[in-house]
Symmetry: C2
Subunit: 354 residues, 2 copies
Amino acid sequence: MDIENAINGTYFDSYEDLEIHRIMLTDKPRQDAYQQAILGHRDLFEGKTVLDVGAGTGILSVFCAQAGAKKVYAVEASNLARLAREVVKENGFEGVVEVVESKVEDFTLPEGESKVDIIVSEWMGFFLLHEGMLDSVIYARDKFLKPSGLMFPDTATIYVAPCSVPGRFDEFESLSGVSLRCFGRELRKQKSDKPEILNVEGDQLLHEGHIMAWLDLKEVSTDDLNEFDMKEVLIIQRAGKFQGVCIWFDCSFPSGNASEPTKEVVLSTNPNSPATHWKQSVILLPEDACETVDKLDPIAFSLSLARNAEHRRRYNLQLTLLDAEKEEHSLPCECVMTKCILMKAHLQSMEVDQ
Amino acid sequence: MDIENAINGTYFDSYEDLEIHRIMLTDKPRQDAYQQAILGHRDLFEGKTVLDVGAGTGILSVFCAQAGAKKVYAVEASNLARLAREVVKENGFEGVVEVVESKVEDFTLPEGESKVDIIVSEWMGFFLLHEGMLDSVIYARDKFLKPSGLMFPDTATIYVAPCSVPGRFDEFESLSGVSLRCFGRELRKQKSDKPEILNVEGDQLLHEGHIMAWLDLKEVSTDDLNEFDMKEVLIIQRAGKFQGVCIWFDCSFPSGNASEPTKEVVLSTNPNSPATHWKQSVILLPEDACETVDKLDPIAFSLSLARNAEHRRRYNLQLTLLDAEKEEHSLPCECVMTKCILMKAHLQSMEVDQ
């Protein structure tokens, strides 16, 4: 399914393609996390005012109404708002949920209503940041959320780990008894301008995951989202072929009043968790940079996720493999980096690779 | 993955999108069928001349060379031919397989070579006929195949059966405790101009499958492909919700010399067989035409698959539900059809719904 038009110019129109919403609505880990986070914390929602940013089909707003919210503003910029209104009615919450067809940047609360108690939103894109919808959520938070208010979710973490990608390398060594290495090479070349969106298996991870970024969603600013960088030596935890760098994220939700803490709900897109429609984002290595690594081997790379200057909803990903031995020297040193391969994964467009 | 541009104007260019080929190459039932049909019948290939129509990555040509063919002409219209040439070389068959970058309609055999012994091709599209590549195979057969020659595959059968489609109807009755019937309705409306490509489960079939068309690929003409029609009363074999009409196909391959017949190889896209990238094609019923049916209930419909006059590689599908009781009368009779719902599924474009 092509969601290229979900980017930039036609960003909002695309949400009228209901197939994207079908995929999201039938993503069980996604649905379960929001449902448990909201309906498992009725004490937090009872009698409260909620803003749902980018409400889509309105399902999160209905969860909030089911959890006892007094009022829910479901703000949706695309004309899907009209369908959300029907969903709300179908569930008997037209007295609680008010669907507003508007960008949240143009939305205003009715007179008399100053701030909301809770903001809920499902804004996450591939490798967390793709689509850049978090900017709108931050805008809404700064304008509409009470100082003591809650964000659902309230934290997000980006993880990075070296991984094997047999479906892009080894598979083509012999497919039905035919060697297709050159096909694999061409395929990877064709896709090299963007990360691959695919399901990595847990046992294809060569490391449990390094935390590249941790966001407190009550505090983070849009400027904080301009660039994320890491430069790290990681110690391999599982022997295998180092063929790519896997990126995924987790989000967590408020876990109840301090007096009555409950188990924290986490929506995880870790390869070891049940698969979601986000899958994982993988930057493939050039073939000559792939190597077999053993447990305890050090590998080093730097990675940056930086906003595309032209299209602020897109990010450019840049991976640089480094020489772990050189990196382990204290810096500055006189070593010359001998094995530095630069990869630019300009994120032009993304496809859901189901 | 969007393969809309695989249709018509950009038909050949699209084959340069290698992701489509990755999906085909990793379709195990597809690969296994061709591999077994060819390598399981070395006696048929030994010393023979083969034409591979629409060779793609060249994998079928390599199978033929592995099976002992003397010469294989791998004709591929897109510039994928260049990659096929590399695949052939990588497998050491550059002396056997000659890759020709050409439409088969423009291809000529070298002087001295009059006809070929075998034509292999993987030409099948959704519901068998989509993409209309069989026309090219028939053209090649009539021009290049010896009268005693073999076609791989040599038969194709289109099956039709009533089915349940819970993922497009029932699922939306309650999703995470929220009623989303109106969403389901809009989703179906958005998709109603084309059959849905999805995996139907075996137990969602309400009938084992009625043969709508059987093609002897040594005899069929392009005119025979202009229109297929059926009008039938089917007796329900499994109780359930009648929500759509499922279309799939099987292909079979020559099963050896009459003196040494071997088990026939069948490539099946039946919902009861392992899933393929063709999945099944389903025409959804309008919601008010869906009904719960019991074993032995008769249902009646007519279905036509007719070439689009403008775009000959496309087909228009038209389903008409009929009143089974009226249809069971001998015709002509004086009954008035009281329950006739006309559906036109104009096949504008198709998406791989993974």
